[in-house]
């Protein structure tokens, strides 16, 4: 067992000579705080040689004894601290009764080190050790998790922090990993089976007769009928925000339940860098720290031009680094509410472990809007509906607010369109004629601006496995997302949008894409089936890329869920409208009924996994991406 030199909670403190012991003392204080914490934070391992041991760990997050999947006896798994430019060796031993694996999420490495059973290697059999070894050629915040079975849901996830080779462009005095996750006492296999048998099993936020009555009183029968008509006709539910909810989940921050809460200590005047990682199986979180502005400095490990926000959404598997400058005499709550508001994870940033801050109420429960079905024309109708409902700040105005928010997204879209006349013309064409059966024939548009291709629903999308198709998907770049759309008007919060993200460094590969691949995220919610282009992973051919080529992938979300889509081994360069500063991501949120485009340089040979990172979508909503040496015609 390779033990770390010492835990390093704060790089800057170390650099400036403050002893690691001080950092430990801080930790010790929080451990003996009045709200006695159940367990220590995950240990920090640093260096370039690691022995990781996967095994069972008895845990008790809810009052019930359960068995978790742990690394070195810790849930979350230890924080790994690497240095850019070093070669790391990780010997991973599996002490489980089943095959296991570890995937280094967001790391650019040889495909046999990527840790996906069936694609990268055979997996790690019980009792076996697999030696991962690769060069670390990037820096920032990443994470690792099992890619076998449901082990990630049961605890096998941990943070990776890579110290840059060059001076860090981000100034901070101390940093903390803030790893979010969702814990269930249920067997994840049972969760999946329940969803298949009754897809709304975990949704206890459905619209009731009382809601209907309130709508009728506020809006009248005719408008209520009109607003609900399409949902009922399509057999869709506006309240379908999360598949698995706080009904079974306990949301954790660094492994701490909301009751105990994680505690991060700072000293007066310090700039604190928080490395948010969403290691949850199924939960998208909306994060804010009441009383503090957050300066977002990195996304998916990559430095971005700093953006100051009050709130941001973190999709499953995404990472965001933010810098906060708390005043020295006050505690703050780090508040991460689930997207459907069925629960939250929380922590405290405090100068003194005995100080705590108020825990805010969760925001209103969002409802889906017509725009989330990918229907541009309907979004227009919503607008009228929302204007009247808007002055009303009851729970129900929420839906109105959503609608108008969506249209703001739409407006932004058409404004972007104006910058590139062609796009908006295309868009209008789509709406007029509908968009069936026209294949992608145009030469792809220039890098940075996204797709101008027709939306084409493949024949494989028509069948019992797909319950809807977005007919006029809009760009989701300037839409904060379901449940966040009216936070600016309602609460005065600035919410991060993908369109706000610019890479800190100039785009490396300036080539325009040679071709475009359009992939549709598809599913049948009622049958709980998930697929790409209507084809599940088990029946699908790999997506083939030629080594060295630059390609655009356009994802069209034909479902009403927000899916975090993760491409292994290659960067996903999000086209936000500025070709010079394209942000590089490893996981992208695709909002319901929208499309999003990114560029991929196929610079790593091998077989890579490409999938939705929602654990119970992944088995079906997955592809192999195979990067091969040339010779294949486009």
């Amino acid at each position: 067992m390779n033990t770390p030199a010492f835990p390093r909670l704060s790089r800057r403190r170390f650099v400036t000579g403050a002893s690691a012991g001080l950092a430990l003392a801080g930790l010790g204080l929080s451990l003996t705080s009045p709200k006695a914490q159940a367990k220590a934070l995950p240990p920090v391992l640093s260096g370039n040689q690691f022995d990781l041991s996967i095994g069972y760990l008895p845990v008790n997050f809810t009052g019930a004894d359960r068995s978790a999947t742990a690394v070195n006896g810790s849930v979350p798994a230890p924080i790994l601290r690497w240095k850019e430019g070093e070669r790391v060796t990780l010997r991973v031993t599996n002490h489980l009764a089943h095959d296991s694996s570890i995937h280094w999420h967001g790391m650019i490495l040889p495909s046999n080190m990527d840790g996906v059973p069936g694609l990268s290697f055979r997996g790690i059999a019980p009792g076996e050790t697999y030696e991962y070894q690769f060069e670390v050629n990037q820096n920032g915040t990443y994470w690792y998790h099992s890619h076998s079975g449901w082990q990630e849901q049961t605890g096998l996830y941990g943070a990776i922090v890579i110290e840059p080779k060059d001076p860090d462009p981000v100034a901070y005095d101390r940093d903390y990993v803030v790893l979010l996750s969702d814990w269930t006492d249920e067997d994840p296999g049972d969760v999946y089976a329940k969803l298949k048998k009754m897809s709304h099993y975990y949704n206890f936020q459905e619209r009731t007769v009382a809601d209907l009555w309130r709508d009728i009183k506020e809006k009248g029968v005719a408008r209520t009928w009109n607003e609900r008509q399409m949902w009922n006709a399509m057999r869709m539910k506006q309240s379908d925000i999360a598949d698995v909810t706080g009904y079974t989940y306990t949301f954790l921050m660094n492994g701490e339940t909301p009751d105990s809460g994680w505690t991060g200590v700072f000293k007066r005047g310090e700039k604190v860098r928080l490395r948010f990682i969403n290691g949850a199986a199924m939960t998208l979180f909306d994060i804010r720290i009441p009383g503090l502005k957050m300066t977002v400095v990195a996304s998916d490990g990559q430095n971005i031009e700093p953006v100051s926000v009050d709130e941001f959404r973190i999709g499953v598997a995404e990472t965001y680094d933010v810098v906060v400058e708390p005043s020295g005499d006050q505690a703050y709550t780090v508040f991460a509410q689930s997207m459907d508001r069925s629960g939250y994870a929380r922590g405290t940033l405090t100068p003194d472990p005995s100080l705590t801050a108020e825990i805010p109420d969760m925001d209103y429960r969002p409802l889906l809007s017509h725009g989330d079905m990918g229907m541009a024309a309907m979004a227009g109708m919503d607008h009228g509906g929302s204007a009247a409902g808007h002055g009303n700040h009851s729970q129900h105005a929420a839906s109105g607010g959503d609608h108008s928010g969506h249209n703001m997204g739409g407006m932004h879209h058409s404004m972007t369109g104006m910058d590139h006349g062609k796009h908006s013309m295309k868009g209008m064409d789509h709406r007029r004629h509908g968009m069936h059966a026209s294949s992608v024939s145009d030469k792809p548009g220039p890098a940075g601006f996204g797709s101008r291709a027709e939306i084409h629903h493949a024949p494989s999308e028509f069948g019992p496995q797909v319950d809807m198709r977005a007919e006029a998907p809009q760009s989701g770049l300037h839409d904060p997302g379901v449940g966040l759309r009216d936070h600016a008007q309602r609460y005065g919060r600035k919410v991060l949008r993908y369109g706000d993200i610019r890479n800190l460094y100039p785009t490396l590969d300036r080539r325009d894409p040679e071709r475009e691949i359009q992939i549709h995220l598809t599913g049948n919610m009622a049958r709980y089936m998930w697929s790409l282009d209507g084809i599940r992973f088990a029946d699908a051919e790999p997506i083939r890329l030629t080594y060295g080529e630059r390609v655009r992938i356009t994802l069209v979300n034909d479902t009403m869920m927000t899916h975090p889509i993760h491409l292994h081994g290659l960067w996903s360069e999000l086209e936000t409208g500025d070709p010079a500063a394209i942000p590089r991501k490893h996981t992208l949120l695709v909002q319901p009924g929208t499309k999003i485009s990114y560029l991929v340089t196929a610079d790593a040979l091998g077989r890579w996994a490409y999938h939705c990172h929602l654990m119970y979508h992944m088995p079906g909503m997955m592809r192999e991406v195979r990067v091969e040496q040339g010779g294949r015609g486009v």
Partner: protein
């Protein structure tokens, strides 16, 4: 019945399942048993116990279904109907089911071939429409529809209607041609868990046309309104 499931049906299902799909863990083999109604119906005479349930096993798009519909009075079956069906998803919300139905009670027993369209209609109505073809050219149609109204997240009011139409008279089993009977129910359940919900409700039945005449000749009620108490469960 239990033995029939355990020793005949389940092994057959398992065998069938492993043959059809190998691997592909997005679509595991699942078994779901559901008791839609297990209820005591209050009448003037002996209170019947009604049981309506189903067991399915299979994958996302292909399943085997067993359906049971029965009514017992004083421990004896007055009505016992079994169906075994192969169910295949044909559209996002509809399944086509084919198979056999056997009416064990009332006697003499009757056998039917079954074709059912089962699924979710627009406006969230659960619908089951069946065509039955029996021996000696007997035919029957059945339409069942159910709706759920959420009074709260756990308190659910559920109206249900069932219609039975027959092509021929079958005096031995008490059915006449044409619209034979209508059953309407209104049940209010409380989901203590999703899988376990006690309920109370009303069940109304009426016989029509030739069936009503046959019932009258037997001295049976033509119309009946019953108060019911029951349990809805699934696993």
């Amino acid at each position: 019945m239990k033995h029939f499931y355990r020793y005949v049906v389940l092994p057959a299902l398992l065998l069938w399942a492993t043959q059809v799909y190998a691997g592909g863990n997005d679509d595991p083999f699942l078994v779901m048993g559901k008791v839609d109604q297990l209820e005591l119906r209050q009448t003037e005479g002996d209170d019947p116990v009604a049981f309506e349930g189903q067991l399915w096993a299979g994958h996302d798009l292909n399943k085997l279904w067993l359906k049971v519909d029965s009514e017992r009075v004083d421990g004896d079956y007055e009505e016992l109907e079994l169906q075994a069906l192969y169910s295949r998803a044909v559209t996002p919300f509809w399944n086509l089911q084919v198979g056999a139905r056997r009416d064990i009670k009332p006697e003499p027993d009757r056998n039917w071939a079954v074709l059912t369209l089962q699924g979710l209609a627009p406006y969230q109505f659960e619908v089951e429409a069946s065509l039955f073809v029996g021996e000696s050219g007997r035919t029957a149609l059945r339409l069942v529809s159910e709706y759920e109204m959420l009074l709260t997240q756990r308190l659910i009011l559920s109206p249900e209607v069932e219609l039975n139409v027959y092509g021929h008279n079958d005096p031995d089993t008490g059915v006449g041609s044409g619209l034979a009977d209508v059953q309407a129910g209104l049940r209010l359940r409380y989901e203590m868990r999703r899988e376990f919900a006690p309920y109370i409700g009303l069940n109304w039945q009426k016989r029509y046309g030739n069936s009503a005449d046959l019932a009258a000749a037997e001295g049976d009620d033509i119309e009946d309104l019953q108060f019911v108490v029951g349990l809805r469960m699934w696993f």
